[in-house]
Every structure is written in structure tokens, then in C-alpha cells.
């Protein structure tokens, strides 16, 4: 079992170099988070007035977990700091955020957050859903890919799919599962 990696190698062969820098930053964040949690757990009321057993204070387990997290953060940081010294590597790490892949993630995330945080609640649910699905399809089929079909066809099929999804999801959840949609 152990001679085969449980996680298959990534097809894009993502370089380890920027991962080391990501580990360094994550390590620091985890270290700070761990220490903050330990402090908050220490400050948590001990409920002496309720005469609880001192070994059962609410901050006990979060405090222990905070210590464990801080230790893991410190190990990650120390392990990465040895490798992550040179400036060129940091430029490569920063470069990860300006690739086409990053743009695809950014746009997906922007659309997803826009739908959940702005459109839902502002428009009726079915309309919010239809607008989101339509924009999503058009952006990714025309903006990030060269679709072999003419623009009118993309717009038409996206509009039909968007309307169908908006109406069907609303009907199924409102009528079928009696959910009061936002």
C-alpha cells in the first residue's frame, strides 16, 4: 500500500518551489492563529461561580488544540524557511497569482460570490439564478475559450439553460421541498 502514493501526481506537474513559499506563509499564519487560540482559551471564563470541576473548564480542549496548531505552524515555518530564502523564488510565487489559471479561479470566485452575496436577496431567486448561469456560461465560453459556434448561438443556448435552471430549481425547492427561498 505504501509504495504507491495515495494522492496521484498532478497532471500539470505543479512546481514544488512556490509550494515551499506557500508553506512558509501558511506556517506563519497557523503559528499566529494557534497562539491567538491559546490566549483566547486561557482568557475563557473558568465558571468558578458554578463550581465546575477545574479539569472541565471550557477552554481546556481549544487551548490544547491551539498549542498543537502552533507547533505544526512552527514546524512548517522552520522547514520552509531553510529553502525559501532567495528573491527569485518569491517572484515565482507571486507569479502564481497572475496566470491564466488564476484568472479563471478569480472570475469563477467573483461570479460565485456576486451571486450568493449580491444577486440572491436583491432579485427574486429564479431571476438571480438565471442571471448568474447566463453570465457564467457566456464569460467562460467566449472569454476564456474560443467557442467554435457563433456568438448568437452561445447567447441563445446560455439564455435557454439559464431560464430552465432558474425556474426548475425554484419550482423543485419551493413546491417539492417547501423551502422558502431567499
Amino acid at each position: 500500500m505504501h509504495d504507491t502514493p495515495p494522492v496521484p501526481p498532478r497532471p500539470d506537474g505543479a512546481g514544488e518551489d512556490h509550494l515551499v513559499r506557500a508553506d512558509l506563509l501558511t506556517g506563519l499564519v497557523l503559528l499566529v492563529l494557534g497562539v491567538a487560540i491559546v490566549w483566547m482559551s486561557w482568557e475563557m471564563p473558568r465558571l468558578e461561580a458554578r463550581r465546575i470541576h477545574p479539569a472541565t473548564v471550557p477552554g481546556l480542549v481549544p487551548g490544547l488544540l491551539g498549542i498543537a496548531l502552533a507547533i505544526c505552524g512552527a514546524i512548517l515555518t522552520l522547514r520552509s524557511v531553510k529553502v525559501a530564502g532567495d528573491g527569485a523564488g518569491w517572484r515565482g510565487f507571486g507569479g502564481q497569482f497572475v496566470t491564466n489559471d488564476a484568472a479563471r479561479v478569480g472570475v469563477t470566485l467573483g461570479l460565485a460570490l456576486g451571486y450568493a452575496l449580491v444577486l440572491v436577496g436583491w432579485l427574486p431567486f429564479w431571476a438571480a439564478t438565471a442571471v448568474f448561469v447566463f453570465v457564467y456560461i457566456v464569460v467562460f465560453e467566449r472569454g476564456f475559450a474560443s467557442s467554435p459556434h457563433p456568438l448568437w448561438r452561445t447567447l441563445l443556448t446560455a439564455a435557454i439553460q439559464a431560464a430552465l435552471v432558474g425556474v426548475i430549481v425554484s419550482l423543485v425547492f419551493e413546491r417539492g421541498f417547501l423551502v422558502r427561498l431567499p
Binding site: 470541576h53 471550557p58 475559450a145
Partner: protein, 508 residues
Amino acid sequence: MFEGLTLLGDGIAFFMTPQSLFNVGWATLVGIIIGVLPGLTATMGVALLVTLTYPMPPDQAILSLMCIYVGAIYGGSRTAILLAIPGTPASAATALDGHPLALAGKGGLAMGLATTSSALGTLVGILFLALLAPLLTEAALNFGSYEFFWLALFGVVISGRLTAFDDPIKGYVAGILGLLVAMIGMEGLHGFRRFTFGVPALGGGIDLIPAMVGAFGLAEILVVMKRKVSARIVDASDRVVPRMADVWKYRRTTVRSGIIGTLVGIVPGVGEDIGAWGSYAAARRKSAESDRFGKGSLEGLIAAETGNSAAIPGSMIPTLTLALPGSAAAAVLIAAMYIHGIRPGPMLMVENAPFLYKVVAMLVLATLAITVLGLLLTRPLLRVMTVPRERLMPVVYVLCVVGSFAIAQRMFDVYVMLVFGVVGFFLREMRYPMAPLVMGIILGTLLDVNLRRGLALSNGDLSPFFTRPVSAVICGLIVLSILFSIPVINRRVTSLIFKTSAPKTGSG
């Protein structure tokens, strides 16, 4: 023994109704479609569809979710064989031999053998589930707070260790983060609200379902959309229904892989993907044609598919008897069981003994359904594979939002889903496994309450945590697991073992 058989018979008879069979049919089909579509995983499917089961009676709801789970793990093989992209992570090992077989014009044979292997793997696992679960329940009835504390910690540690094999510290970090998430809200011993920062909605804690929908839904959408994929479906027009001779020829591999898959499934938080890799590696070591592995070996394909499917019933063993999820999808099933008023754990056999055998019956029905649907629906499933992700992912995301909202009909759960989705995506990109995070969220309360209750019972004395036999064994396993993840110790021990075993092999 006979009582068990009677209960199993009753379980199967219970589901022999048109409504149950209808649920088996649609749920397995939906599961297979989820598995076939790259980017949709079994855990995500089960988490998203929990919402659909709210209006159902408990048995029918769990039956549907179980069929989705089994269907999705099986469905992933189709994409692995024809597209070389695993439909779910559980099928990654299947792609190694399945795709070369398809390229060699044996796509039909590969799909057929994947179907029979999945069915046989599930059956091996079912056998172990029916035999082991009652025994484990009996043992677990004697467990106290001390044992449950260690079990909860064991679940998180072992899951962290095995799902991040190359870099265990990332598995441990994911597990600790999950445990910390479980600390949010009102704690179970004194009713004190922790880490709520004045937000009333946090008082009830973070619900597992929206967290899972985020970590396995939105995060997965972002991962899928990140990369441009150009894959071509291989034409497979040869015979799909496999010959008995082909199945019989590899019977040893099937049984071995079934047992390995089941054992991996039993390990908490370690699921089908490792079941498949474990069986595949063992089959390659034992095979007379090991050089064929990775180039289109039928044995490799059978091992991977048997292993991942056997892990499903295997994962149900700790899930039902200890409430310790055997896999990430099983964690969602536990949440779904609670929603439907079923309490998994040692008391299940006391309070609701027939339910355990109903789960066995559900798995038998799901196995039959994947066999029939998998062999019959070859062409329609090919069409599913061609759905472009630009068209599919917005719909999946809408379901993520509605699914999270529908649980308590509040936007707070949608925000939870968004946070877990974004954080989950970045963690995945930095190779942190998600399973320990889930294990932490579901086991956090068990760990917290049992540690403090144990300490209260022993008046602050730690010794019962180390002197009671079962506690001592689990504690030892945890310590060993952590020690072996320290590279220096691991290297020393490995070299020591090899040094002592080398002369033996040399002289023998």
C-alpha cells in the same frame, strides 16, 4: 448468527416495495452520473442531495444516500477508462490500466470488468460489515469516556497520517483545523458559548452539511475551473458484458482486493481512493504479470475497482458501530442520520438493531443497481461525459447555494459554505487533504466532551486514559502514527528493519 441472518432477510424484505425500488433506481443513477462527471465527487453528491431527502422517511432517505454513494464511486471508473480523468478521486488507480485498455480497443471489456469488480468488491465488504459490525458493537458497549476520547483522536490522527502520506503534517493541520471548527458554539458539558464573537448564529456551531458542501462543492468547482482540460473520449464499441472466464480468472485478486479495500474502509477517515491504491499496489506485488501494470492490465483494473468499492461497506463498519466516519462521505451520512433521528454508535444495536441490517440490505440493492445500470446504460453515460464544465459548474454551484440554505432556511449557512469553499480551495492547492478536516468537525464534540467528562470522573487524574487496556492500545497507535510521521524516526526504523531482514533473505 441466525438472528443476524433473519434480520438481514427482514432488511431485504423491507425494501422490496415499489417505492424503495424506485428510490434505489433513481438514486443509483444520479450517483453514477455524479461519478461520471469529472469534478463531482461522491462526498459532494451525498452532501448536496441530503437536502432532497428531508421529506422522506428515514429508511428511504438513507437508502437513497447510500445508493448515491455506491453509484458515484462506481461511476468514476467510466470516466477514468474512457477519458483518463478519474471521475472521482477513488478512480485514479482505475485510470492507470483502464485507459490503456480503452486505447487498445478493449474499452467495453474494461467497463464491463469495472462493473463486475465494483459489484464483487461491494459484496466482499458487505460480508465483513454483516459479520464484524455486531461484534464491534458488543465490544464498544463497554467503552467509556476514556476510550471514546482516544477513538476520536485516533480518527483524526490516522486520517491525517494516511491521506497526506507524503507530508503528514498537512494532514494533522487539516485535522486540528477541523477540531477547532467543532469548538465553535455552545459546548456540551456546561453550555458555555465558545468563539462566537457576539454572532448569535455561531452559538449553534458550524453545521457539517454547509461546511462539506463548501469544502467539497465550491472548492471542487474552483479546482475544476482552474485548469483548461482537453480530453478526448475513446471509442469503445466492443462487448461490454464480461465473460465469466475473465471474472473467474482473477478471483484471487478480487478476494484480496476486496479484503484490503474493506480494511482500508474500516480505518476512520480513510476512504475509497486509498482502498483502490492499496489493492492496486498489493495486486502488482503478487501478480505474475506485474510488468503489464500501468499498460493495460486487467488485473490492475480489477484490483483498483474492487478495492475502492469494498471500502464503502468497510467505511460503514466504524460509522455505524462507533459513529466514527470511515470516509468523508460516511461523515455526511452520519450527519444525515442525525437529521433523520437515527443515532449511529454502540447504542444503535440496542436501540435500533434492524437498522444495521437494513444498511446491509441497502448496499446489496445498490450493488445490484450498479451492475444492471452500468451494463445497460453504456451509451447514455457516454453522452453525460460530454457535458462541458462551463455549462455544468454554474448549475452545481446553484445547488450548493440552495442545498446549504435549505437545511435551516438561513443565509448564515450559505456564508459558511462560501468560507469553507474558499479556504478549502486554497488548502487543496497547497496539498492539504480534506478528509481529516471533515473528521475533525464531526469528531470534535466527541473528543472535547469525553476528555473533560473522563477527567471529571477520575477527579482530574489522567491515569485511566493510559491504564485501561483499550485506551492504552489506541493511545499507543496514535503515538506510533505520529512518531512514524517524523522523517528522522521513520528513516531510522525503516533502515533498521531492512538491515535485520536483509541477511535473512540473503541466506534463505
